[in-house]
Symmetry: C2
Subunit: 335 residues, 2 copies
């Protein structure tokens, strides 16, 4: 440990991604493993649909891995629903030791981070990091039910309907891992006075900047050491703030920088205002877009900073502002 | 790793406990570090009061430790409130890398488990495991606001108003630890058909039994190897079921067994029906009652099985039953 830096040696053995119809229609649509045409995934409620997405995402990941649930020693999972029921119900059938996480939209990175700790330190052989979000369940919980037809503001993001599952193993235990998690920097919660649940990008950008700057300092690296620097779901608004804050500190990330929230929907063809958000956003974009590029060698070294806004609707009604966090994992092409 | 068993070498360096007035009036009342006479802790809302409890619990723990927040490398925290805002807002001021957990009422044990992993594997030098629950914030979120005066059933438990904070460090790094976390067994979520949010003991007991039986098998231990076998918050109803289920499998824990939910209130003098529950229940009882007994040597070796019911009110309205989990940590007197 040096200034909060975690040295890890975990391998991402495989990943599964499941999305809804809007995500399927987006620019990355044909990369995802599975999609549903009405976002219900055969269920009667949006919450059950979200659980079903997690069940399918982990099922797909296990199928790619060629093993069954008995080979999994731990699941780390969480989501945006109250009491994280997307995960609790979705992963119940697997019967695997379960670590419940809450990191809001940073959960994919938080799961990769803590899962990598468990396998790197030898506590488990294989762990799954799973998360999800569902536009319909999130909107009615955080804002208003979709049926109300509420007007969205320009800074509002669109909660991704999607679930990702990553299977992690130790590099030392062999196989031929092609993507490795070699370092991580846990986030520190920051609150900068944003009270608008329709502007989460602004709330989260400072936390992502804080984590990235701490990472550069602790690791002795610079932006140009990486092929890609990727934030979770700052969206168009938050990404611009992220870039400006770093630039003010003399750090230029522009050519390498992108954000999963700006990638998953077409800015001009799909009306999502400030881009995508939700736990599933960085999860499915990492699983379906970045991971194959790491494995092919097109991207050899990247930083993923999962970003999360940890407010609740009640907290905002009580006049609180939005605490945000950014968890960083460094993903590198293996041998 | 053997059959899911985690071998750890963490020390509980100190702990803080903060409770409300009913807990202060209970049989363990004078053991807690701090209490409030109106459960508001100087705040205008119950949710803010819960955050304030966490802030004070960690503050007390740091004060006992004789160090400030700069000595903390990680906080692991969670609570029952939607989006875990008790933790997110309560611990914001500390500015420490933060791992958000969701384990429902098992969170104290889950934090001790994952915090011990981080210090045992050398990822951090010192970690804090913090959790809380508040009767008034929990009742209005999970059931009905207190003002409704809803009739409670005999199996209903009383959510503890309390917060605990434990400071963990590595045994190897010296000092004179008096309580050590030497093993852990993560829980597997189980769902046995209970749909009654006023009977969480029945939902959680099978999960606690499952974890304990897996622990005995993996560790080669038996109930008589321990001075105390303690469940988190099964309460009177769940404890009886726990005992019956184990007995049916030929395991007798009776003389060593107790449950934090049955200890924190007087069964006859305080009307709590089936006993205490909530993340704070096992947290404050462990911090204020068991930890000093471990340090004094009165208890030399104990198992704490934090129990959690991971449902949400929405899930129950949608006809789901209650998934439960039990996370086990073995706490032993150090040198």
């Amino acid at each position: 440990m040096k200034n909060g830096l975690f040295e890890l040696d975990a391998a991402i053995l495989c990943a599964g991604s499941v999305v809804g119809c809007k995500e399927r229609e987006g620019p990355l649509g044909n990369l995802f493993d599975m999609h549903d045409t009405d976002d219900r995934f055969g269920q009667k409620t949006w919450e059950k649909a979200e659980s079903e997405m997690q069940r399918r995402a982990l099922g797909v990941a296990l199928a790619k891995w060629g093993r069954d649930r008995d080979s999994l020693d731990a699941i780390l999972a969480g989501d945006l629903l109250n009491q994280c029921i997307g995960s609790a119900y979705g992963l119940l059938d697997f019967g695997v030791p379960y670590f419940g996480l809450y990191g809001a939209c940073s959960t994919a990175a938080l799961g990769l981070l803590l899962g990598s700790v468990l396998v790197s330190a030898g506590y488990v052989r294989h762990a799954a990091a799973v998360t999800s979000s569902h536009n319909s369940s999130a909107e009615r919980q955080y804002r208003t039910p979709l049926e109300y037809g509420a007007q969205r503001t320009p800074t509002a993001q669109w909660t991704v309907t999607g679930s990702s599952a990553f299977i992690l193993g130790s590099i030392r235990e062999g196989g031929d891992p092609c993507a490795q998690i070699v370092q991580a920097m846990p986030g520190i919660p920051l609150e900068m006075g944003i009270r608008d649940a329709a502007n989460m990008g602004a709330a989260m950008a400072p936390a992502a900047v804080d984590t990235l700057e701490r990472y550069f300092e602790a690791s002795g690296t610079a932006p140009t050491d990486f092929d890609a620097i990727v934030t979770g779901d700052l969206g168009w608004e938050g990404s611009a703030i992220f870039h400006d804050l770093l630039y003010a500190d003399g750090i230029e990330t522009a050519p390498m920088y992108t954000d999963c929230g700006t990638m998953i929907y077409s800015r001009h063809m799909q009306d999502t205002h400030a881009g995508g958000s939700g736990c599933g956003c960085s999860g499915v974009v990492t699983a379906a877009y970045f991971l194959p590029k790491i494995i092919s060698g097109e991207i050899r070294d990247m930083l993923l900073i999962g970003t999360g806004a940890m407010m609740s609707p009640d907290a905002l009604k009580q006049g609180q502002s939005i605490p945000a966090i950014g968890h960083l994992v460094r993903i590198r092409k293996g041998n």
